[in-house]
Amino acid sequence: MSETVKKFFYVNRKAPYGTIFAQEALEVVLIGAAFDQDVSLGFLDDGVYQLVKGQDTKDLGVKNFSPTFRALGDYDVTKLFVEKESLDERGLSADDLDEIMYEDEDDDWAEKPSIRIVSRAEMADIMADQDVVLSF
């Protein structure tokens, strides 16, 4: 691997299942985790729907990939930024989202939430602080 550590940002703006972009974005995140870069995920616009709890695809006949988000902590992917305005516009709140936790190795492995609700202005600041932006 390379010595450089870059800030990688995954932009998730699409709902799950209607199109494959959310699922294939997650596949990139999982592979990318092995490269020891500084990884963040942004969920805005319809992307916030990816994290809604209670997804059940049994009747639809496609794979439910939402549990994979809960495994991201094991891959040291612990920064999931969710835009508050995007939730509001869709009648959603933080309580409607899956609980996604990670163990903080710098804080005696304390369990902490990976999801951080941020304002639109904060999301814009986060985006403006990245080296590589991958859009889905």
Binding site: P16, Y17, G18, G54, L60, E89, G91
Partner: protein, 102 residues
């Protein structure tokens, strides 16, 4: 003479549901499928526009697409009916034509 309209896009990312609402006539049915099911959730500005047509136009949503997305029946706009694929087929048969708002 009536039309079944299907909408398969999120109303928060495209104009399909809005355009469908603008063209549906009294007595028609609108079925929200795939990402279109998000249009059936209450508590949004769009929900009000949809609810306003709820008397004149039948509003339905495909249950398996709701469940996949974690959209519970309790969150639906009043008057929106979840249907299964058998219900979808019935609606196609009982309306004179089907128009997909892609």
């Amino acid at each position: 003479m009536s039309t079944l309209h299907t909408v398969n896009k999120s109303p928060f990312s495209t104009q399909s549901l809005l355009s469908c609402l603008n063209h549906a006539k009294d007595g028609d049915t609108i079925l929200m499928i795939e990402d279109g099911v998000y249009g059936a959730a209450k508590g949004t500005g769009l929900g009000d526009a949809l609810a306003a047509r709820g008397g004149a136009v039948s509003l339905c949503v495909l249950a398996s697409d709701m469940e996949a997305r974690g959209l519970e029946a309790s969150r639906l706009i009043d008057g929106v009916t979840p249907v299964d694929y058998a219900g979808f087929v019935e609606m196609v048969v009982n309306n004179d034509r089907t128009q997909s708002w892609l």
